[in-house]
Symmetry: C2
Subunit: 312 residues, 2 copies
């Protein structure tokens, strides 16, 4: 175990954080009062999302640095705001830190959170720091606001919609789950230029997450096996699991999957308006079926199972 | 260990919670999408606070029931909103639950959160449920809004202000820390009828929390030892610590301490507008001194130490 400065109490750490948080016109009262005040744009709904990461369940400090864990803890929340096509505004950070990890670990963790926050113009407005008996715990709540066109929900897919995805899928556990860039800017461009019917971010895996869209939209889907963009990380020899299986069932891609009308979809695919490729992977159908169509035209059911953080 | 139903995955528990969350006109999108949408009153700032409770650090399930822990986890956040004289609106709940605790424990915990939420008209708008290796973890973020008169800050105390407290102090660890009613309604009455200059809720103890007010307001205080209302729980034989010491340095009273001009304070003390007594315990002074005046007129410094959750 590396030599660590001991933790010297909650107040010192919060004072340390407070020094590093810059003034923000959206935050009339920041860290240092009983609660923070945040000023949102007039007449906009507030978007709220929360995610907790626990050491030994969601991350392993033998593999990930505290800095990477900090970035990821905010990044998963940013990805949720992106999935609504929202604009991130402010975050609170609740921590449980261990005596053995010490102050350096807590500082590196916060450095990761803080850098990610700066990259997406998120104000850190509050925190709660505690001792944890066993393992680091990070719980972040991120607040955002809807843009002028409102939000994109999971439940808006319609029969005939084309299903598109950003980037490529699978194998995230090999690296991308710690280094992904949440698709906040991409979602804003898409929502601004095209009429998106539904959207979700991929945290549980394509099969499970598109399944959530189908459930909320009360419809089905047919995915084209040949069209699904597979990440190179999913092609690395991994025993018996085929790359396509990784792309369907691996979690934590943090890409966006969305649906829109055929005309808009064709225009978007021709435009390719993002820095990452956008790919047509299937269509929404009226029935409740959820199928994968193979190159030979045959189909098989998509299992709605995914990457279950809870059972891992 | 009692027989427990096994945890059957994150989705089942979230579905269970979703069934129990009632529709709310302030929540255009609730649990079941990537994030929730919350609609606040027009032109009101949003108040944000967050608190994490960890088993073995903040509570002991040999003493507290999961139901009580659930109530407390939301209650400490409600107390923070009360300290701003804010109106609670919506909460997110992130959990780490253990295999050994099982589904019953998670359900009882949520029942406590849900009942407290109903009592204070708080919508549960989102959650994240995870497995924890060691011990229950609850992290709640509570959103509120300022009332028509805005918020009350820690930093507004002025020399000459009278210092008042609701209820009685000390000995909370014997029971009250699990059964307290957050002073949300009391704060609203006070803020509506009197011109409060500063306010804080007592979580770290009177000495430390009033110390925060003094620090943020850049002034000092003289407390009258004889005037401090001591809770009966602090009078139970507890070894060498005197009841007054408990009232000054014990944590988790969750009462409100506030300051206001002498005229307003005299009117308030005569009115006694709350269901709990309000007591005059001292005055704000210009210098940075922080003193306790005893019955014989002598003074001694108040130590700013308090109940440090972090070191417990």
């Amino acid at each position: 175990m590396p030599h660590s400065k001991p933790l010297t109490g909650e107040f010192d750490y919060i004072a340390w954080i407070r020094q590093r948080v810059i003034a923000d016109s959206r935050v009339p009262i920041g860290i240092g009062d009983d609660a923070a005040l945040v000023r949102f744009s007039p007449n906009r709904d507030v978007i709220v999302t929360t995610d907790m990461l626990l050491e030994g369940v969601h991350f392993d400090l033998q593999i990930a640095t505290p800095y990477q864990v900090g970035r990821k803890a905010l990044g998963v929340n940013l990805s949720d705001i992106a999935a609504m096509a929202g604009i991130p505004v402010a975050a609170t950070v609740a921590l449980g830190v261990t005596e053995t990890g010490g102050l350096e670990q807590a500082e590196e963790l916060f450095r990761g959170i803080h850098e990610m926050a700066a990259e997406f113009n998120v104000a850190i407005v509050g925190g709660d720091t505690n001792r944890s008996r066993d393992g680091l715990v990070i719980s972040i709540t991120l607040l955002g606001e809807a843009g002028p066109h409102g939000c994109v929900k999971r439940g808006g897919a319609r029969a005939g919609d084309w299903i598109l995805t950003t980037g490529s899928l699978g194998g995230s556990i090999r690296a991308k789950h710690l280094t992904f860039i949440p698709r906040v800017r991409e979602a804003a461009v898409l929502h601004d230029r095209y009429h998106l019917h539904s959207m979700i971010d991929l945290s549980d895996g394509l099969a499970a997450d598109l399944g959530h869209v189908l459930e909320e939209s009360a419809c089905g889907a047919v995915l084209q096996a040949d069209s699904i963009p597979i990440n190179d990380l999913a092609r690395i020899d991994s025993g018996t699991t085929q790359p396509l299986e990784h792309a369907l069932y691996d979690g934590e891609d943090f890409e966006l999957v969305f649906t829109l009308g055929e005309g808009d979809a064709r225009r978007l695919l021709a435009d390719q308006p993002l820095d990452v490729p956008v790919t047509h992977i299937g269509v929404i159908v009226e029935s409740g079926e959820y199928l994968l169509q193979l190159a030979d035209g045959s189909t098989r059911p998509v299992e709605r199972r995914g990457y279950d953080h809870f059972r891992r």
